[in-house]
Amino acid sequence: MDVTSIFDVSAAGMNLERMRLEVSAANLANANTTRGADGLAYTPQQVVARSTAPSFEALFQGFGGDSLAGAVPVGQVQTADLAPRQVYDPSHPDADARGFVSYPGVNPVSEMVNLIGITRAYEANVRAFNAGRNMLLKALEIGSGR
């Protein structure tokens, strides 16, 4: 296994967590958006993480101990299936015939909990990255008599 693939895996993890943070921030920012570019209320988004499907080559190399080749996460932004929040406000310009306004079904509590998880996961990736870096730096000292 190529030593620098440690960095690739951790960097992909950091990338994914940043994407989750961007989506959470967009959800929170648009929690009260009643009309988007398409005229409808903002639809909450979520990130679905998948491991990249290992190629034939990666699987083949897996027999030699390189089984991390397919373990790089890739995030995909998808629409979260959350029912809109109905608020009775007849004077609102976006109210429907019955006087209800559809707000996006963003749940601030779960978004805040997500934020905590994202921060910690990002930190964990940085720790893993730094640990790999320190190990490789230590390996450079082999035979140097220090």
């Binding site: 960095f7 950091m14 990338n15 870096r133 490789l136 450079l140």
Partner: protein, 132 residues
């Protein structure tokens, strides 16, 4: 003559020197990316060295092609000096954490190369001092 060449100008030493240059160029690319992170429409740069080494490797392993190492290194150096950077095909905008990750990896590679060249010089030193 070949003994003198083996002391300082061997293929390994030349390649290590070239790789050190490439690490510096990669550092320049990362620095430029970080400096221009907030510039609208800026496309991140990356060093072409890895791509060039890849082509070097395929030329060395393909027996049908001319594989004189001196000529290969010369061509590598030439193309490195002509067009050291290219647009990063993997990124359309600058992500600061990815640049920092590349920076850490690059500095680690630089240290590894320096350690390797110090060890190479140590071997020559051993030969000069007759192993004392």
């Amino acid at each position: 003559m070949s003994e003198i060449a083996a002391l300082g100008g061997g293929v390994t030493e030349q390649l290590v020197g070239l790789a050190l240059d490439a690490a510096l160029q990669r550092h320049e690319a990362i620095a430029a990316n970080i400096a221009n992170a907030e510039v609208e429409g800026y496309r991140p740069l990356t060093s072409r060295f890895d791509e060039l080494v890849e082509s070097l490797h395929s030329r060395v392993t393909d027996p049908s092609l001319d594989s004189s190492s001196a000529r290969l290194i010369e061509s590598l150096r030439g193309s490195l000096e002509n067009q050291p950077w290219m647009m990063d095909p993997a990124a359309s905008r600058v992500e600061l954490d990815m640049q920092m990750a590349n920076l850490a990896r690059n500095s680690l590679q630089y240290q590894a190369l320096l350690t390797a060249s110090a060890k190479l010089a140590g071997l020559n030193d051993l030969a000069i001092t007759e192993g004392k």
